[in-house]
Amino acid sequence: MNVRPLEFRTARSTAEATALWAEVPDAYYLAGGTDLLIQMRLGRRSPARLIDLKRIPGLSAIEVRGDGALSIGACVPLGVIAAHPEVRARYPLLAECCLAVGSYPVRNRATMAGNVCNASPAADTAAALLALEAAVEASGPNGDVVLPLAGFFQGPGKTVLPAGALVTALVLPAKAAGCRGSFHRLSRRRGVDLATLGVLVGRHAAGGAGAHRVVLTAVAPTPLRVPAAEALLDRQGAAAAAQAAEAARAACKPIDDVRGTAQYRREMVGVLVARAAAALG
């Protein structure tokens, strides 16, 4: 093993952060560190430099924008997001997914940007963010980018975020407000466990075409939206719960791992989608 010194830098602006990143190879942004530090300890990542983002003014704010969209700064901890009145009133599914992560102390530290950038197929907040059609705003070496969450995840640990880009905020569009439903998650124990699988089923109040959302986690290389299941629910509502469940089962691509077998995951996708769809009433 190569033992090399680790440099810790605190950035005071996004520009400083991206510049610090570009200076040396193997620089990593650090938010809550609840993924990164563990990966370092396991030897999966060995940064030469950690760039702490938590002192950058502006990254810790939750704001309603002029167009009604809700912007959540990259350094806001999950516990704060889940408790925020705008989030609870307009995006209750996001609050529910944030609360599914880890434990109270973990949520006081972990960020949603970190959850998304870490790109685990089991990332809980990804379920709501995909359902709510959120966008990732980032500031990179080649300027600022806005990336829709749809298509953001490319595989375990892989995203389309350009190298060195710094996520500044996750933005929930105004039109996604009022989407209601539920997030169901199976895990090996009740307290603090990664999902064996997760299922979110939601519906926009307006109803009609495009009203439903079906998102699965931990059953494919990335969190997965299932348009076929959504379309069935759009047409027939809860009456199509069983067909939607079948569509979700067909869409998922689970694997066997220490948390569960592919077969169990697939079956449970069916069970949970049917339940969540039925619960929409």
Binding site: V3, R188, R189, R190, G191, V192, G260, V271, L272
Partner: protein, 780 residues
């Protein structure tokens, strides 16, 4: 034993080590900082089985800051508590992933890591055996080709030329003939995976050998004297030149019994004379590198008559001992002489066989094999009852042990042996057993437990009592308070026997083998009983010294005097003397002085134990005592997902005497939760080809959190006094986790008609069993 009302024993005194633990004053081995302490890294085998052709340390030794390097060539010494089958570092082969091959010590952890990475090892991979069936197969690769030549205690029977490191045969009555008379016969197999202890504080040892050749070791261990004894034997040092000190311990659960990292720390310390060397394992290594609990494959055949009496019982326990059986061989033995659990089996054929594999090393773990065999036996009993249409509680009561009944070794129990029947009845009553209540997807189950201390016949404890000038009593014990509350219990017995105010007792329980009295080990649920007895004896001796002096001071017969709340009182004259006037000697008015500092040592060793017959394991008294108990469980199942919730666990144990109500409840609840963890979520998973651990982290090896604790935990106790117990008490620390998984499994059967026979009972297995059942009986 007497029925005299007690003042301290049986009451809720505050935990004597509570304040230092909650304030952070308590220091653990990892808190100790020694001047110029070196940091060690152990090089561990990445192979489950391989020949070690060469170990080259030159490159490692050249790393700046490295002060010692060591490997098998340097210390080709065997170590092991019962079977000396392990060396400090692998010499010719490695036998599990994590087997220590070499170690380095350096000025900084970074330099040590760097050096460890430069240790060069030539491995020649060998076939990997992970399952007992493969280990037992004819012509199987031998994990220990030299097994026949290893040193071991006489009551362990390794079979050279095979992978069997111990085999206990239990033969009672005529099994074959009895089987032919049976109306029903049930045969089932069960299995238990290897699991880990997961103590909050991992293994850690710090050692130094000084210029004069004295070896000192500070270590997180359950057994300082056994560590000293085994270190002395390993490195051929006189016991008097080895000093072992055990600071506060953050949980052991058996994983810190016997000897663990200490020889590695000692070996490095010998190479870096005069320097302290610290060795520890990280959380990931803790899962596989030191010790785990053995796996079990069990096959049971039970024959019953029409009245529900078991006539014939056969048991085969195959233990997956992993790469070394130093300690695990005694689990095999204990499971043998307890093979019939809490039942009387007139005709029994039992085999408990330890098998070497290339898994992590099986060792002591709370329950010492008993949870594993009860997983099999208790489910089997329910299945047999169901087979003959009898209520499982009724069936248990009909077949259970009790006064006048004979155990599998032919020991006839007496009225002091404890009452399993009362425990079963209490739990059944609390669960409302037989009330006809049946709600969909809810179920109830009951399982029994029994365990004896599994230890050498001469396992002893001793204590030292001495007084301070102000009349305060100091109690020196060498049992370890690993959370069970031993120090508090020792203080209770001392205060009771000397009628002292409770705050006038200090227990010195961080043993130092240079200064503390001998104690074998803190294992086997033996400390309250063994140390408790020794404390009572030493207190009696101190009492006689105090009465003797007071008798001369008062010029009154000693027989008339008594102790009263820190004084000696002459009830006839009303005269009294506080202890502080006596404990350093009594001085008369004219200045002449008698007596002297009051102090006493005392010991306890179980008496009357007889070795097992080598062919049949029959013995009238193979163990010191038995503790019986039962647990009942209520579950609720979600049949679509297989997820289930254990809503309630009720336990009842015959503990002889409740010494401290909330400590014993804590032990009981803790055991239930640990039982729940092993029962429903714990399993050390290895890659089936390479034998490498797949879940060696808390991310993927789960133990229960507070959110997983059942809503209702209840503890009840029966107090049938133990003849040789201190005020009648017997041990219960381990027993509390023994029946839980079997009771959960029975409750699941009651809830939805499925049975999981391979621990842990995961939601996925429940769901699979439900699916299989559906296929068997398609709904019309």
């Amino acid at each position: 034993m007497s029925d005299k009302p007690t003042r301290w024993v049986g009451t809720e005194v505050p935990r004597v080590d509570g304040l230092e633990k909650v304030t952070g004053a308590a220091r653990y081995t990892g808190d100790l900082k020694f001047p110029r302490m070196l940091h060690a890294v152990v090089v561990r085998s990445p192979h489950a089985h391989a020949r070690v052709r060469d170990v080259r340390l030159e490159q490692a030794a050249r790393v700046p800051g490295v002060r010692a390097v060591a490997c098998g060539k340097d210390f080709p010494f065997h170590v092991g508590i019962y079977l000396k089958d392990q060396t400090v570092f692998a010499t010719d082969r490695v036998r599990y992933v994590g087997d220590p091959v070499a170690a380095v010590a350096a000025e900084t952890p970074e330099a040590a890591r760097e050096a460890a990475a430069r240790v060069e090892v030539d491995y020649e991979p060998l076939p990997v055996i992970l399952d007992v069936a493969d280990g037992m197969a004819p012509g199987a690769t031998l994990v220990h080709p030299d097994l026949g030549s290893y040193e071991c205690v006489p009551w362990i029977t390794p079979k050279g030329g095979s992978n069997v490191c111990n085999h206990l045969k239990v033969r009672k009555g005529d099994y074959e003939a009895a089987l032919r008379r049976c109306a029903h016969v049930v045969e089932r197999s069960f299995s238990v995976p290897q699991v880990q202890h997961v103590p909050i504080e991992g293994h850690i040892s710090v050692a130094r050998m000084d210029g004069a050749g004295k070896l000192e070791v500070y270590t997180s261990a359950q057994s300082p004297f056994t560590v000293r004894h085994l270190l002395s034997a390993c490195f051929k040092l006189p016991h008097g030149d080895v000093r072992v000190v055990v600071p506060h311990v953050g949980g052991g659960f058996g994983g810190k019994a016997g000897i663990n990292l200490e020889p590695i720390a000692a070996a490095l310390a010998m190479k870096a004379r005069g320097r302290w060397v610290r060795v520890l394992v990280d959380r990931s290594e803790e899962f596989y590198a030191v010790v785990v609990r053995q796996g079990l494959e069990a096959t049971l055949v039970t024959g019953v008559d029409k009245q529900g009496k078991v006539l014939a019982q056969k048991l085969l326990y195959l233990w997956n001992c992993g790469g070394y059986g130093g300690y695990g061989v005694n689990v095999v033995r204990a499971a043998g002489y307890t093979c019939g659990g809490a039942y009387e089996f007139p005709n029994l054929w039992g085999d408990s066989i330890g098998v070497y594999t290339n898994r992590p090393v099986g060792s002591a773990y709370r329950g010492f094999g008993m949870q594993e065999i009860h997983w099999a036996l208790e489910q089997q009993m329910t299945m047999v009852a169901q087979e003959i249409g009898m209520d499982p509680v009724e069936f248990r009561l009909r077949n259970c042990l009790g006064p006048g009944k004979s155990t599998v070794t032919g020991q006839v129990l007496d009225e002091h042996s404890g009452r399993i029947d009362l425990c079963i009845r209490k739990v059944a009553e609390e669960l409302g057993w037989g009330d006809g209540r049946k709600e969909p997807n809810r179920g109830r189950g009951i399982a029994c437990a029994v365990k004896a201390p599994a230890m050498p016949n001469d396992a002893a404890s001793s204590v030292l009592l001495k007084f301070c000038e102000d009349g305060m009593l100091e109690v020196l014990i060498s049992g370890i308070d690993i959370g069970q509350g031993l120090k508090t219990v020792a203080a209770q017995f001392a205060a009771e026997a000397l009628d002292l105010p409770f705050d006038k007792v200090r227990v010195r329980g961080l043993p130092d083998t240079d200064l503390s009295p001998y104690d074998w080990q803190t294992v086997a649920s033996r400390q309250t009983w063994a140390t408790g007895n020794a404390v009572l004896r030493a207190a009696e001796n101190c009492k006689q010294q105090l009465l003797g002096m007071a008798s001369r001071a008062f010029d009154a017969p000693a027989s008339r005097l008594r102790l009263a709340n820190g004084t000696v009182l002459d009830p006839e004259t009303g005269r009294s003397l506080p202890f502080e006037r006596l404990v350093m000697g009594y001085q008369f008015d004219d200045g002449h002085t008698i007596g002297g500092p009051v102090a006493a040592a005392a010991s306890f060793i179980p008496e009357g134990l007889i070795f097992l017959d080598p062919e049949t394991s029959q013995s009238p008294k193979p163990v010191a005592k038995w503790t019986f108990g039962a647990q009942g469980v209520e579950v609720r199942v979600d049949p679509e997902t297989g997820q289930f919730t254990v809503e309630r666990i009720v336990g009842c144990y015959d503990v002889g005497k409740v010494v401290h109500p909330s400590l014993i409840r804590g032990q009981t609840y803790g055991g239930m939760i640990q039982g729940l963890g092993t029962g429903v979520m714990e399993e050390l998973l290895l890659d089936p080809q390479t034998g490498r651990p797949r879940n060696a982290s808390l991310t993927d090896y789960k133990i229960p959190t507070t959110e997983d604790i059942p809503e209702k935990l209840e503890a009840h106790f029966v107090e049938t006094p133990q003849a040789d117990g201190p005020l009648g008490a017997r041990g219960v620390g381990e027993h509390t986790m023994i029946p839980t998984p079997a009771a959960i499994s029975d409750a699941l059967f009651d809830a939805c008609g499925i049975r999981v026979t391979r621990m842990p009972i995961t939601a996925e297995k429940v769901r699979a069993a439900l699916q299989a059942k559906k296929k068997e009986q398609p709904t019309p």
